[in-house]
Symmetry: C2
Subunit: 227 residues, 2 copies
DNA sequence: GCGTACACCGTACGACGTACGCTGTACTAT
DNA sequence: ATAGTACAGCGTACGTCGTACGGTGTACGC
């Protein structure tokens, strides 16, 4: 059967690229639960089994999606203060992961890094090494910074509100009753304060990142002075 | 039908407690994929549908499991230097999460904190507040420390080896071919070095934690001096 | 004109979560 | 004693999932 190449829509037949892209779109818009081979096929005007010409299995599809996510993250630039460079880079990583929240748990259970994932890690490692960190310290820093991003996004996508208004709306109905002050005095104190002052995901992220970057800088300078 | 109370095995009929415990055992031993209502029922000598008398849905079952995991984490003690207390506490958290790796992605997609989860967060918040952190700074510290633990465990359970021997074994077959030095010079440099020196998950965790704790202590002292 | 390769699909199998309605037992009110 | 009610547990069935398998038609080399 010949491919229907009539429409103005992007229908250049199937391709691995198109399959992965559409899978990402489905996951972004309707969540990971909505991503089934049948639904993906339907979106692509194809049968479920046709997809298996481009991905070996659903697992491999997920691997590919994760790699596409890595490819979206800005790589560290080559010049500039390493802290500034990493700040920009990690902000981009957070951005991308928040935009594709399904990717975080996926990265966790996935062992096979794709080319984009490898290139990403290579670039970050390179940035730290060029800044003067030793190999061991680079490994430490790499771990710590990645932890912050992963952990932060994990927490951000978890919270059931996106904006300060959402938060204020939910507070009365859900949070305050849950956090009875007599049972959870400290939590409820914190909740009230944050509620009053507004809550900004980005500010929270930047603050933590700053603490870590400055601490690492101190270690870098100290070890450099010892050379 | 009367319950068969003959055997020496722990068979006190069904109960929410028993259902949750057995679900955890299944997930621990055979992974999250193996946790289905049918299999869980079989392990409990019951039909799948009987479980629905103790959990409203599989989602609620997962909520309960997550809360049991929180309950396993040691709470911070009341006295001692806050850094030492938190170090112990977070080490316990890492320990528990590595023992139940399925819990990490679960915590991510779960909005409803159970009593143990709330109590855990309350205790950590209390510890930081009593150490002298402001409400805002406590929130920051809480976020940062949690991120480290989550992110760290995310990375640890990801790595396909547990011990240094495992790593050495896999290295030749998998890592070194993957990390071609001409394409990924920095990564392969790091891999060789870490391989030669051995790799210790605990040391890596402790190092990063120390960096963060010391940085937070500096902030605490500085703000205390301003009072 | 024929053979082969390939893109694609329909069907089917065994798993899954769970809605529904049926059992048999235990307890309470009369 | 009897009837009524509540409840623990189960069997069956529906619609979903991933995917193995065996088609079917078109394109192209000989």
């Amino acid at each position: 059967m010949i491919e229907d190449v009539g429409g103005a829509e992007p229908l250049p037949g199937l391709s691995r690229e198109r399959v992965l892209r559409e899978a990402m779109r489905l996951a972004d818009e309707h969540g990971m639960d909505a991503l089934s081979m049948r639904k993906l096929g339907r979106v692509l005007d194809a049968g479920a089994m046709s997809l298996y010409h481009y991905v070996a299995s659903k697992e491999e599809l997920l691997d590919g999606m994760v790699d596409l996510v890595f490819a979206e993250i800005e790589l560290p630039t080559r010049e500039g203060d390493w802290r500034e460079v990493m700040r920009r880079q990690l902000a981009s990583a957070r951005d991308v992961l928040v935009r594709h929240p399904w990717a975080v748990p996926l990265m966790e259970s996935r062992t096979n890094a794709g080319p984009a994932g490898l290139q990403y890690r290579e670039a970050v490692t390179a940035c730290l090494r060029r800044a003067g960190f030793s190999i061991e310290m680079t490994a430490h820093a790499n771990w710590l910074l990645s932890s912050c991003v992963y952990g932060y996004v994990l927490q951000e996508v978890n919270l059931p509100f996106d904006t300060a208004e959402d938060l204020a709306e939910m507070a009365d109905e859900v949070y305050l009753p849950l956090l009875a002050p007599d049972r959870y005095p400290y939590l409820s104190e914190t909740a009230s304060t944050l509620l009053a002052g507004g809550y900004d995901h980005t500010a929270e992220f930047d603050f933590g990142l700053d603490v870590v970057l400055e601490a690492l800088e101190r270690l870098r300078v100290r070890s450099a002075g010892r050379d």
